[in-house]
Protein backbone atom coordinates (compact mmCIF):
# COMPACT_ATOMS: atom_id res chain seq x y z
CA UNK A 1 0.00 0.00 0.00
CA UNK A 2 1.38 3.41 -0.90
CA UNK A 3 0.63 6.77 0.59
CA UNK A 4 -1.91 7.34 -2.14
CA UNK A 5 -3.91 4.42 -0.78
CA UNK A 6 -5.07 6.81 1.90
CA UNK A 7 -8.38 6.74 -0.01
CA UNK A 8 -9.07 3.30 1.47
CA UNK A 9 -9.31 4.79 4.98
CA UNK A 10 -12.88 5.51 6.13
CA UNK A 11 -11.90 9.02 7.17
CA UNK A 12 -10.93 9.99 3.62
CA UNK A 13 -13.87 8.51 1.68
CA UNK A 14 -15.22 11.17 -0.68
CA UNK A 15 -12.00 13.18 -1.00
CA UNK A 16 -10.47 13.99 -4.40
CA UNK A 17 -7.03 13.00 -5.67
CA UNK A 18 -5.57 16.45 -5.07
CA UNK A 19 -6.82 16.51 -1.47
CA UNK A 20 -5.39 13.03 -0.85
CA UNK A 21 -2.08 14.10 -2.37
CA UNK A 22 -1.87 17.02 0.07
CA UNK A 23 -2.63 14.70 2.99
CA UNK A 24 0.02 12.25 1.77
CA UNK A 25 2.61 15.01 2.20
CA UNK A 26 1.97 14.76 5.96
CA UNK A 27 2.07 10.96 5.98
CA UNK A 28 4.89 8.56 6.84
CA UNK A 29 5.13 4.78 6.95
CA UNK A 30 6.55 2.54 9.69
CA UNK A 31 7.30 -1.17 9.81
CA UNK A 32 6.03 -2.88 12.95
CA UNK A 33 6.55 -6.19 14.73
CA UNK A 34 4.27 -8.20 17.05
CA UNK A 35 3.93 -6.55 20.46
CA UNK A 36 4.86 -3.09 19.13
CA UNK A 37 2.70 -0.47 20.86
CA UNK A 38 1.68 2.16 18.33
CA UNK A 39 -0.20 4.46 20.67
CA UNK A 40 -1.33 4.39 24.30
CA UNK A 41 -4.68 5.32 25.83
CA UNK A 42 -4.52 8.69 27.60
CA UNK A 43 -1.43 9.94 25.78
CA UNK A 44 -1.32 13.07 23.66
CA UNK A 45 -2.37 12.17 20.10
CA UNK A 46 -0.01 13.49 17.44
CA UNK A 47 -0.96 11.10 14.61
CA UNK A 48 -3.80 9.17 13.04
CA UNK A 49 -2.97 5.69 11.74
CA UNK A 50 -3.92 3.56 8.75
CA UNK A 51 -3.13 -0.16 8.56
CA UNK A 52 -1.33 -1.24 5.39
CA UNK A 53 -0.34 -4.82 6.35
CA UNK A 54 -0.61 -6.96 9.46
CA UNK A 55 -3.01 -6.90 12.39
CA UNK A 56 -3.49 -4.36 15.16
CA UNK A 57 -5.51 -4.87 18.34
CA UNK A 58 -7.21 -2.01 20.14
CA UNK A 59 -7.50 -2.36 23.90
CA UNK A 60 -8.72 -0.29 26.83
CA UNK A 61 -7.42 -0.36 30.35
CA UNK A 62 -9.91 -1.01 33.17
CA UNK A 63 -7.30 -0.74 35.92
CA UNK A 64 -3.63 -1.60 36.46
CA UNK A 65 -4.34 -5.32 36.06
CA UNK A 66 -7.15 -5.59 33.52
CA UNK A 67 -7.08 -4.69 29.84
CA UNK A 68 -10.19 -5.28 27.73
CA UNK A 69 -10.01 -6.18 24.04
CA UNK A 70 -12.01 -3.70 21.97
CA UNK A 71 -11.40 -4.78 18.38
CA UNK A 72 -8.90 -6.20 15.97
CA UNK A 73 -8.03 -4.71 12.62
CA UNK A 74 -6.82 -7.09 9.95
CA UNK A 75 -8.04 -5.41 6.77
CA UNK A 76 -5.73 -2.99 4.91
CA UNK A 77 -7.21 0.51 5.13
CA UNK A 78 -8.48 0.14 8.70
CA UNK A 79 -7.87 3.33 10.68
CA UNK A 80 -7.30 4.08 14.35
CA UNK A 81 -6.23 6.97 16.55
CA UNK A 82 -8.87 9.25 15.03
CA UNK A 83 -9.59 10.79 18.45
CA UNK A 84 -6.47 12.84 17.59
CA UNK A 85 -8.76 15.10 15.56
CA UNK A 86 -11.00 15.95 18.51
CA UNK A 87 -10.07 18.03 21.55
CA UNK A 88 -8.36 17.33 23.92
CA UNK A 89 -6.39 15.37 21.24
CA UNK A 90 -5.77 12.32 23.40
CA UNK A 91 -5.81 8.64 22.37
CA UNK A 92 -8.83 6.84 23.84
CA UNK A 93 -7.46 3.33 23.20
CA UNK A 94 -4.12 1.55 23.14
CA UNK A 95 -3.10 -0.01 19.81
CA UNK A 96 -0.78 -3.05 19.79
CA UNK A 97 0.53 -4.96 16.80
CA UNK A 98 -0.44 -8.63 16.69
CA UNK A 99 1.69 -9.44 13.67
CA UNK A 100 4.43 -7.90 11.55
CA UNK A 101 3.24 -5.30 9.11
CA UNK A 102 3.32 -1.66 8.13
CA UNK A 103 1.30 1.37 9.15
CA UNK A 104 0.84 4.85 7.76
CA UNK A 105 0.94 7.68 10.30
CA UNK A 106 -0.71 10.96 9.38
CA UNK A 107 0.43 14.05 11.24
CA UNK A 108 -2.53 15.50 13.13
CA UNK A 109 -1.43 19.16 12.88
CA UNK A 110 -0.69 18.86 9.16
CA UNK A 111 -4.10 17.30 8.53
CA UNK A 112 -5.86 19.92 10.63
CA UNK A 113 -4.15 22.67 8.63
CA UNK A 114 -5.43 21.12 5.39
CA UNK A 115 -8.93 20.82 6.86
CA UNK A 116 -8.86 24.48 7.98
CA UNK A 117 -7.83 25.70 4.54
CA UNK A 118 -10.17 23.46 2.54
CA UNK A 119 -13.80 23.55 3.72
CA UNK A 120 -14.85 20.59 1.55
CA UNK A 121 -12.01 18.44 2.87
CA UNK A 122 -12.74 19.46 6.47
CA UNK A 123 -16.45 18.79 6.08
CA UNK A 124 -15.96 15.34 4.46
CA UNK A 125 -13.48 14.20 7.12
CA UNK A 126 -15.64 15.42 10.02
CA UNK A 127 -18.74 13.78 8.47
CA UNK A 128 -16.88 10.46 8.16
CA UNK A 129 -15.55 10.82 11.69
CA UNK A 130 -19.06 11.49 13.08
CA UNK A 131 -20.44 8.37 11.34
CA UNK A 132 -17.60 6.29 12.78
CA UNK A 133 -18.11 7.57 16.32
CA UNK A 134 -21.89 7.02 16.04
CA UNK A 135 -21.25 3.37 15.14
CA UNK A 136 -18.87 3.08 18.11
CA UNK A 137 -21.52 4.66 20.38
CA UNK A 138 -24.12 2.11 19.21
CA UNK A 139 -21.74 -0.76 19.97
CA UNK A 140 -21.01 0.65 23.42
CA UNK A 141 -24.75 1.04 24.18
CA UNK A 142 -25.33 -2.55 23.08
CA UNK A 143 -22.59 -3.73 25.45
CA UNK A 144 -24.02 -1.65 28.28
CA UNK A 145 -27.48 -3.17 27.72
CA UNK A 146 -26.04 -6.70 27.99
CA UNK A 147 -24.34 -5.88 31.32
CA UNK A 148 -27.55 -4.19 32.54
CA UNK A 149 -29.65 -7.26 31.71
CA UNK A 150 -27.13 -9.53 33.49
CA UNK A 151 -27.25 -7.31 36.58
CA UNK A 152 -31.06 -7.15 36.60
CA UNK A 153 -31.34 -10.94 36.35
CA UNK A 154 -28.84 -11.43 39.16
CA UNK A 155 -30.82 -9.09 41.44
CA UNK A 156 -34.08 -10.87 40.62
CA UNK A 157 -32.62 -14.33 41.22
Amino acid sequence: MSKMDLASGYLFKGLGKEQLKRISEHTGEIEVKPGHEICREGESAASIFLLCRGAVELITSVNDHIELPVSIMREPGAMFGSSALIEPHVYTLTAKCQSSGSILHIDRLGLQNIMSGDDHCGSVIMKNLAAYFLARLKETRQELKIHFKTLLRSFRA
Binding site: T60, H65, I66, E67, L68, P69, V70, S71, I72, Q98, E139, Q142, E143, I146, H147, K149, T150, R153, S154, A157
Partner: protein, 115 residues
Protein backbone atom coordinates in the same frame (compact mmCIF):
# COMPACT_ATOMS: atom_id res chain seq x y z
CA UNK B 1 -26.78 -9.69 12.77
CA UNK B 2 -27.26 -11.88 9.70
CA UNK B 3 -24.01 -13.84 9.83
CA UNK B 4 -22.25 -12.65 12.98
CA UNK B 5 -22.02 -16.18 14.36
CA UNK B 6 -23.06 -19.73 13.76
CA UNK B 7 -23.41 -21.89 16.86
CA UNK B 8 -23.99 -25.60 16.41
CA UNK B 9 -25.29 -27.40 19.48
CA UNK B 10 -24.72 -31.12 19.87
CA UNK B 11 -24.75 -33.56 22.75
CA UNK B 12 -21.68 -35.62 23.63
CA UNK B 13 -22.68 -37.99 26.42
CA UNK B 14 -23.95 -35.78 29.23
CA UNK B 15 -22.36 -32.61 27.85
CA UNK B 16 -23.95 -30.09 25.48
CA UNK B 17 -21.22 -28.75 23.17
CA UNK B 18 -21.73 -25.29 21.69
CA UNK B 19 -19.50 -25.04 18.61
CA UNK B 20 -19.06 -21.29 18.09
CA UNK B 21 -17.97 -19.94 14.71
CA UNK B 22 -16.92 -16.34 14.11
CA UNK B 23 -15.82 -13.36 16.18
CA UNK B 24 -17.76 -12.82 19.40
CA UNK B 25 -19.05 -9.28 20.05
CA UNK B 26 -22.09 -7.60 21.57
CA UNK B 27 -23.95 -8.51 18.38
CA UNK B 28 -23.49 -12.20 19.28
CA UNK B 29 -26.01 -12.03 22.14
CA UNK B 30 -29.03 -13.45 20.25
CA UNK B 31 -26.92 -16.32 18.87
CA UNK B 32 -25.71 -17.32 22.33
CA UNK B 33 -29.20 -16.97 23.80
CA UNK B 34 -30.66 -19.19 21.07
CA UNK B 35 -27.91 -21.79 21.55
CA UNK B 36 -28.26 -21.76 25.35
CA UNK B 37 -31.98 -22.43 25.02
CA UNK B 38 -31.55 -25.03 22.28
CA UNK B 39 -33.35 -28.30 23.19
CA UNK B 40 -29.98 -30.11 23.38
CA UNK B 41 -28.54 -27.53 25.79
CA UNK B 42 -31.60 -26.48 27.78
CA UNK B 43 -31.67 -28.25 31.10
CA UNK B 44 -28.37 -30.06 30.70
CA UNK B 45 -26.01 -29.89 33.67
CA UNK B 46 -22.84 -29.40 31.63
CA UNK B 47 -21.98 -27.01 28.81
CA UNK B 48 -18.80 -26.89 26.76
CA UNK B 49 -18.14 -23.71 24.78
CA UNK B 50 -15.89 -24.53 21.83
CA UNK B 51 -14.38 -21.46 20.21
CA UNK B 52 -12.76 -21.14 16.81
CA UNK B 53 -9.01 -20.67 17.57
CA UNK B 54 -8.92 -17.70 15.19
CA UNK B 55 -11.91 -15.98 16.79
CA UNK B 56 -11.63 -12.51 18.23
CA UNK B 57 -13.65 -11.84 21.37
CA UNK B 58 -14.03 -8.19 22.28
CA UNK B 59 -15.41 -6.53 25.42
CA UNK B 60 -18.97 -6.87 24.06
CA UNK B 61 -18.34 -10.58 23.50
CA UNK B 62 -17.01 -10.90 27.04
CA UNK B 63 -20.25 -9.26 28.26
CA UNK B 64 -22.24 -11.91 26.35
CA UNK B 65 -20.14 -14.69 27.92
CA UNK B 66 -20.57 -13.23 31.42
CA UNK B 67 -24.34 -13.17 30.78
CA UNK B 68 -24.28 -16.85 29.79
CA UNK B 69 -22.06 -17.80 32.75
CA UNK B 70 -24.35 -15.95 35.18
CA UNK B 71 -27.41 -17.76 33.82
CA UNK B 72 -25.60 -21.12 33.94
CA UNK B 73 -24.58 -20.46 37.56
CA UNK B 74 -28.21 -19.69 38.50
CA UNK B 75 -29.24 -22.95 36.82
CA UNK B 76 -26.41 -24.86 38.56
CA UNK B 77 -24.80 -25.80 35.25
CA UNK B 78 -21.07 -26.39 34.87
CA UNK B 79 -19.47 -24.49 31.97
CA UNK B 80 -16.09 -25.31 30.41
CA UNK B 81 -14.29 -23.63 27.53
CA UNK B 82 -11.97 -24.86 24.79
CA UNK B 83 -10.49 -23.61 21.51
CA UNK B 84 -9.14 -20.33 22.87
CA UNK B 85 -5.94 -18.80 21.53
CA UNK B 86 -3.15 -18.15 24.05
CA UNK B 87 -4.06 -14.45 23.88
CA UNK B 88 -7.66 -15.03 24.96
CA UNK B 89 -6.70 -17.57 27.63
CA UNK B 90 -4.73 -14.71 29.16
CA UNK B 91 -7.61 -12.24 28.70
CA UNK B 92 -10.17 -14.65 30.24
CA UNK B 93 -7.87 -15.18 33.21
CA UNK B 94 -7.35 -11.43 33.57
CA UNK B 95 -11.06 -10.55 33.57
CA UNK B 96 -11.95 -13.42 35.94
CA UNK B 97 -13.93 -15.69 33.59
CA UNK B 98 -11.71 -18.61 34.65
CA UNK B 99 -13.24 -18.41 38.14
CA UNK B 100 -16.56 -19.50 36.61
CA UNK B 101 -15.44 -21.74 33.76
CA UNK B 102 -12.47 -24.11 33.41
CA UNK B 103 -10.42 -23.84 30.23
CA UNK B 104 -9.18 -26.96 28.41
CA UNK B 105 -6.75 -27.30 25.50
CA UNK B 106 -9.02 -29.66 23.52
CA UNK B 107 -12.60 -30.94 23.29
CA UNK B 108 -11.40 -34.44 24.14
CA UNK B 109 -9.68 -33.35 27.34
CA UNK B 110 -12.66 -31.23 28.37
CA UNK B 111 -15.14 -34.06 27.76
CA UNK B 112 -12.93 -36.54 29.62
CA UNK B 113 -12.83 -34.27 32.67
CA UNK B 114 -16.51 -33.26 32.46
CA UNK B 115 -17.48 -36.91 31.90
Amino acid sequence: MADQNKIIVETKGTVAVLDIKGDVTGASEPFFSEAYHHPDADGTGKLLLKFDGEAYINSGGIAVLIQLLAEAKRNRQRVCITGLSAHFKKVFHMVGITRFADIFPSVEEALKEMG
